[in-house]
Symmetry: D2
Amino acid sequence: MGMPLELQTLIVTKGKERRVKDNLFILEKEGYRLYPLDIPLEVRRTLQSEASGQAVVKKLELADNRTIVTYELVALHSTN
Amino acid sequence: MGMPLELQTLIVTKGKERRVKDNLFILEKEGYRLYPLDIPLEVRRTLQSEASGQAVVKKLELADNRTIVTYELVALHSTN
Amino acid sequence: MGMPLELQTLIVTKGKERRVKDNLFILEKEGYRLYPLDIPLEVRRTLQSEASGQAVVKKLELADNRTIVTYELVALHSTN
Amino acid sequence: MGMPLELQTLIVTKGKERRVKDNLFILEKEGYRLYPLDIPLEVRRTLQSEASGQAVVKKLELADNRTIVTYELVALHSTN
């Protein structure tokens, strides 16, 4: 009797993030995932890609075997 | 750079739960706490008291250094 | 890039525990599992069986996709 | 009744790591800390310093309110 959980150290968006306002984004993922809150994490578009920026997770919602992450983009890396 | 978290095995209400509807309750706690979702947990009024029932956590919200737990009471122990 | 982990609230032995000495036991499990340390947990022989006792996890070792739990049995429920 | 735990995304050595052999190091920390195993993490000498390298945690031991991390250095950043 356990709860499966995936510990995360990065935010991988796969382009599925939705902007809520300004620098605040929402990302929905399958399964239960634990992203550390309130500390800077790297943001990547894919697992293999370079960091596209840095973000801080502000809110984490776990329900119905899904995880909703609300994060604030705090730095954006130019990629050209 | 870490995120402090408290791993929980019980729901201790301290009488602060609010009924949302039927057997669904909401409880707000200070700090970030991790309650296993979707598996039966003991519910107690205080840490020292006997189990008052069993519940299943349906939703967990972590934000602003607070944790909101939504749980469904699945069994109630009579205490007389 | 995440680390799969199973959050545990019980110790389910499946009869695979080995006594180290006195009330101290070792149990090896597949995968990475997180058992809360230093707090009383229910011990069961199978997931469906009644609690056979109470134990406190003293040590947790995660490596090579396995988890080794060292626990001290603090109470034993008679089952006859 | 909970277990306090700190979720880690980085390895901060504070110069206290001990080399076991080759690229394998051991680091002991106060409290219970959860470092993701088997995935690359940044290594820093202090929280504020630049990354000194990348490492993969191979083993995590939690006991007596201490955490022992065994990690393999997989990349070293030159800092001159």
